[in-house]
């Protein structure tokens, strides 16, 4: 995409290819499938894995500030480094890693539009060389609570009828798909969605080549069709927060929503909580609630 508004935060594969040896830039791959990095990565890129590098091994949470500082230092990232994220799966995990970097206040984060898919389609080279950057110094900030929604905040937000987006598939939203025969449930004991949440599956943000749709197309969807308000507080969720971090990125950085948070606990938490409200069916209020297509979700 070439919209001026996104020139800085969203970069093309061509831009990345031109900046491969720029010492002020660190390219970071974050994937659903970790073996992809071993198969071949953008030359010079380091890998940061959401599951293994960014998750605290004991408490269900992100690594703490000290561990984040240590991780950045080891990956050759200092406070003034421009960090460009990319990955597989339409950049889900790249957006998630971007979000964690913003959580700790990293200033200059970018996304390579289209991720691995676009790099491949553009016929650019993959490297299997090991990348061992010189250690850097890093000082992280305290977590930025303004981009992260915790369960009780989501409950409050839901009760107040504020903008809430469920970016999972319609089957998950309606509560039809929890898990398949022969397969263990991935963790939620209840299916459905948070009452009032609009279902805007994440693929609606993307083109077939993995890139984001244009700002104009995205504005049409969120602002004109869904009538979402840029200034109203908004929370996005999915199953574990990776797909919703893509939508969070779209709303905050491509559309300029002022107050949007990712609920990283997402359905894996909500679907297990005792006595939180759940709606089933296609309507935001649930089948038993209002069947109106214009729910009072916009505070």
């Amino acid at each position: 995409m070439s919209d001026a508004a996104t020139d800085t935060v969203l970069v093309t594969t061509a831009w990345v290819a031109e900046h491969l040896s720029d010492p002020g830039i660190r390219i970071v791959e974050s994937d659903e499938d970790r073996a992809l990095y071993a198969m071949g990565h953008v030359p010079g890129a380091v890998e940061i894995d959401w599951h293994v590098d960014l998750q605290d091994p004991v408490q269900r949470d992100y690594i703490d500030r000290a561990a984040f500082e240590k991780l950045c230092a080891a990956k050759g990232i200092s406070n003034d480094t421009t960090v460009v994220f990319y990955g597989d799966k339409n950049n889900w995990w790249a957006c998630y890693a971007f979000w964690v970097f913003k959580l700790y206040g990293h200033r200059d984060c970018r996304i390579m539009d289209g991720g691995r898919k676009r790099w491949e389609l553009d016929g650019r080279p993959w490297s299997t060389e090991r990348v061992d950057p010189a250690p850097a110094r890093y000082t992280a900030q305290e977590q930025d609570a303004s981009i992260r929604a915790l369960r009780d905040e989501v409950l409050k937000h839901q009760r107040a009828g504020k903008q809430l987006l469920d970016v999972r598939s319609p089957e998950e939203y309606r509560g039809e798909r929890m898990h398949m025969p022969d397969y263990p449930n991935e963790g939620a004991v209840r299916g459905g969605h948070i009452p009032g949440a609009l279902n805007v599956p994440w693929p609606m943000n993307c083109n077939d080549d993995g890139t984001f749709k244009t700002v104009k197309q995205l504005e049409k969807l969120y602002v004109r069709e869904l009538k979402m308000k840029r200034r109203s507080p908004t929370i996005a969720y999915c199953r574990i927060g990776e797909r919703s971090s893509l939508t969070w990125f779209v709303l905050k950085y491509l559309l300029g929503f002022g107050n949007v948070r990712n609920y990283d606990g997402s359905w894996l938490e909500w679907g297990n909580c005792v006595r939180v409200p759940i709606a089933k069916g296609a309507a935001p209020g649930g089948a038993a609630g209002s069947a109106s297509t214009a729910p009072a979700v916009h505070a």
Binding site: H51, H179, D182, Y183, P184
Partner: protein, 146 residues
Amino acid sequence: MSSARDRLEAIISEFADLDGREKLELLVDFANGLPALPAEYEARKAAEDRRVHECQTPVFLWTEVEGGMARIVAEVAPEAPTVKGFVAILAEAVNGRPVAEAALLPDDLLERMGLADVLGMMRSRGLRAIMARLKRGLVERSAQPA
């Protein structure tokens, strides 16, 4: 000819000695070695609903039993090398061996290979589910009349 268990143990010890990066590289080697889907299975992909729906990336699995011998046939998209490599490892262990041996394969292989830590809890759970599905599929298949 060594048993499925012996074959798998050899692969496990090969992985166990490697560092994290090398483990992933070896997994990619296995992924690259998974044979292409035989032509006769191509048409069956749609007809038999062999798609593993939990995997966002297309994964098709068959568990075949011929004369009491197990055979895993699979097609895994190249963008899922972890799943592909894991299926290739299981196929290498059980293909051509009696089904009873497949049922006895150890379930803790990811831990012993050291892959559980490299992949994290969620991915490991997904791979364990694939293994359970393949083992169950072979046992059920062997119970059916040919």
